[in-house]
Amino acid sequence: MADTSTATADGHEHEEDRRDFLLTSTVVVGAAGVALAAWPFIDFMNPSADVLALASLEFDLSTMEPGQAITVTWRSKPIFIRRRTAAEIDEAKKVPLSELKDPQADADRVKEGKDEWLVMIGICTHLGCIPAGQKATDSKGEFGGWFCPCHGSHYDTSGRIRKGPAPKNLAIPPYAFTNDTTVRIG
C-alpha cells in the first residue's frame, strides 16, 4: 500500500495513522477472539464432571487380615492395599536409607499410627506395568514386596525400589482414614 503513505517535511515515510490503527486494532481483536474461542475446545478435552465425580472413593478394610492384600481401582488405576505383618513392618523399618535408590523412610510412606496399612498406586515407576506380589502365589521379588515382570524391578515391603531399572518407589496416592477401618482415596 505504498500509495497510501505520505512523505513528511523531514523526508521520512509516514504511514497513514487512521488506517494503521484500524488494521492493527482489527487484527488484535480478531486474534483475541480466536484465542478465546480456542479455550472451549481445549477444555472440552479435559476430564468431564462425571469423571471428576469418581475421583474420590471410600473402601472398607475391616475384613482384611494381616498379610493380606487387595487391589482396588481408583481413577482407572490399580491401588495396592496391603495389611502388613509385624515382620514385614520390621524389615521395612530397619533398612538404612543409604541402601535405597530413592531414599524414603517407611514412616513417610504410611499414616502415623497406621503402620500396618500400606496404600500405593500399583504401577511400576519404570514403564507403567503392574508389579506382581498382591496374590499369595505371586512372586514377591528378592525383598518380599513386589516384583515387576516386565523388566525385573524389585520392591520391598514398603514398596520402595531396591533393584532393577525403576527409578522411584511406588507412588502413594492422596488418602486418609475416615475411621479405623475405612480409607478414602483421592
Binding site: D3, W39, F41, F44, M45, S48, A49
Partner: protein
C-alpha cells in the same frame, strides 16, 4: 498484477522454489482479480466455507465424547450437554451450525439464480456446487440420526424406506442400507462412519469448486464478463475486509441462536430417547428439508388413475420420491434450460419478477412441509410443487426466447464508475 511476488524470507523462498505454495496462495487470495462491483450477496460463499470449518472442528471434538451405540448414543449426548466441559456449547454450535450452513448455502444458491452465475462458462462450477449441496443433505440426514432421539430414529426409518420404491429390489436395498430389518445398531454405526467421512468429501468438493471458480473468476451483479484489469480489484484487502465484516455480522446471528435460542430450530421430540415401538404423532424433518418434504407428499393417491402410465412401477409413493429427487436433479439442467443472452436478472425485467415468485414458491413449499398434508394445505402443496417445476422447465426456456432484455453496460467499470471507461484505463495503469 499477476507477476510472481519476490519472497524476502529465505525459508519461504527456498520452499516456494520447490513447492510454490506461497505463490499459489498469493495468487489465489491476495492479488486474485475480483470484479470490483460485487455486492454483499457475494459474501455467502466464503461464509459457507467458514461454517464448514466450524462444523468439522466442533464435530471432531463432539466425536471425542460421543458413543455410537443404541444403548449409549442418547445418554452420551446428554452427558456432553451436562458433564463435559463446554459440551453444551460444542453441541449447540454444531446443531445450529447445520442450520446456518443450509441457510448460507440457500442464499448462495439463490444468488446464483438471480445473477445467472450457473451460466456458461460456469456450468461445472454450478454442478460441483450442487454436488456439495447433495453431500450436505446426506451428511445432515445421517448426522440427525446420531443423537438417537425419536425424530432421529423415525426420520432415519422414513428416509431409508424411500428406497423401497425401487422396482423389484426395493426391500433388499432398504435392508442393505439398514444392515438389518429395521433401523438399529448397525444403522447407527454406519451412519456415524458416513457422518465422519462426508464432511471431508465436501471439503474436497469445495476445493474443486474454488478451482473452477478461479478459472473464469466470479460472476458479478451485472453478469457481464471481466474485460480489462480496470474491471477488477485485488481480493486482498478489498474482499478479505468485506468478507471479514460479513463474517462478523453472520457470527452475531449464528451465536444468537447458539446462545439464546439453541433449540428453536430443532424438534422437541428429539429429546425423547428413540423408541422403535412408538412413532411420534407427526414426523417433521429439519427446516432445511421441508420444501423437499412437501414435494414428496404432494402427489395425489389416485395418481395412476389420472395418468394411467406404468401402473405397476409408479404408485403415488414412488411418484413422490421421484419428484423429490427430480427437484434437485432438474437444477443440473439449469444452464441449458436458461438460454437467455443475458445472465443477470437486473437486465431481465420478466425473469426478475418470476425469480421472486420462485423464491416465494420455495418458501411456501417449506411452510407446507411443516404441516400435515391435509385439506387446503395439500392443495397448496400440489400447486406449489407444480409451479416449482413449471418455473424451471417451462418458464426458463420460454423466457430465454421471448423476453426482451435491457441493454447491457459496455463493461463493469463503465457501469460502476462515473468516468466509465476512462477510469478503467487509469486503473489499468496503476
Amino acid at each position: 498484477m499477476s507477476a510472481a511476488p519476490e519472497w524476502k524470507n529465505p525459508v519461504v523462498r527456498w520452499i516456494d522454489h520447490r513447492l510454490p505454495v506461497f505463490t499459489f496462495t498469493h495468487h489465489s487470495v491476495v492479488d486474485y482479480p475480483t470484479p470490483r462491483n460485487l455486492n454483499y450477496w457475494w459474501n455467502f460463499g466464503s461464509l459457507a466455507g467458514v461454517v464448514l470449518v466450524i462444523m468439522i472442528a466442533t464435530g471432531l471434538f463432539l466425536a471425542m465424547h460421543y458413543n455410537p451405540s443404541v444403548d449409549q448414543a442418547f445418554d452420551s449426548v446428554e452427558r456432553i450437554m451436562r458433564d463435559v466441559n463446554y459440551g453444551w456449547l460444542m453441541r449447540y454450535m454444531h446443531a445450529n451450525g447445520a442450520s446456518m450452513f443450509f441457510l448460507v448455502v440457500y442464499i448462495h444458491m439463490f444468488r446464483a439464480l438471480y445473477y445467472g452465475s450457473y451460466r456458461a462458462p460456469r456450468e461445472v462450477l454450478w454442478f460441483i456446487g450442487l454436488f456439495i449441496f447433495l453431500a450436505m443433505m446426506a451428511t445432515a440426514f445421517v448426522g440427525y440420526t446420531l443423537p438417537w432421539g425419536q425424530m432421529s430414529f423415525w426420520g432415519a426409518t422414513v428416509i431409508t424406506n424411500l428406497f423401497s420404491v425401487v422396482p423389484f429390489f426395493g426391500d433388499a436395498i432398504v435392508q442393505w442400507l439398514l444392515g438389518g430389518f429395521a433401523v438399529d445398531n448397525p444403522t447407527l454405526n454406519r451412519f456415524y462412519a458416513f457422518h465422519f467421512l462426508l464432511p471431508f468429501v465436501i471439503f474436497g468438493l469445495v476445493f474443486l469448486h474454488l478451482w473452477a471458480l478461479h478459472v473464469h473468476k466470479s460472476n458479478n451483479p451485472l453478469g457481464v464478463d471481466i474485460k480489462t484489469d480496470g474491471d477488477t480489484i485485488p481480493f486482498h484487502p478489498y474482499y478479505t475486509a468485506k468478507d471479514a465484516f460479513g463474517l462478523g455480522v453472520f457470527l452475531i446471528v449464528y451465536f444468537a441462536f447458539a446462545f439464546f435460542e439453541p433449540n428453536l430450530l430443532g424438534h422437541p421430540d428429539n429429546y425423547i430417547p428413540a423408541n422403535p415401538l412408538v412413532t411420534p404423532p407427526e414426523i417433521v424433518p429439519e427446516w432445511y428439508f421441508l420444501p423437499f418434504y412437501a414435494i414428496l407428499r404432494a402427489v395425489p393417491d389416485n395418481f395412476i388413475d389420472i395418468w394411467g402410465i406404468l401402473p405397476i412401477l409408479v404408485t403415488a409413493k414412488t411418484a413422490g420420491v421421484i419428484l423429490m429427487f427430480a427437484s434437485v436433479i432438474v437444477l443440473f439442467l439449469l444452464p441449458w434450460l436458461d438460454r437467455s443472452p443475458v445472465r443477470s436478472a437486473r437486465f431481465r425485467p420478466i425473469y426478475k419478477q418470476l425469480y421472486w415468485l420462485f423464491l416465494a414458491d420455495c418458501i411456501i413449499l417449506g411452510w407446507v412441509g411443516a404441516n400435515p398434508p391435509e385439506g387446503t394445505m395439500l392443495v397448496i402443496g400440489r400447486l406449489a410443487t407444480l409451479y416449482y417445476f413449471v418455473h424451471l422447465l417451462v418458464f426458463m426456456p420460454l423466457l430465454s426466447r421471448y423476453e426482451k432484455t435491457r441493454p447491457l453496460p459496455d463493461s463493469i467499470s463503465a457501469a460502476v464508475t462515473p468516468q466509465g471507461s476512462s477510469q478503467s484505463a487509469q486503473a489499468q495503469g496503476a
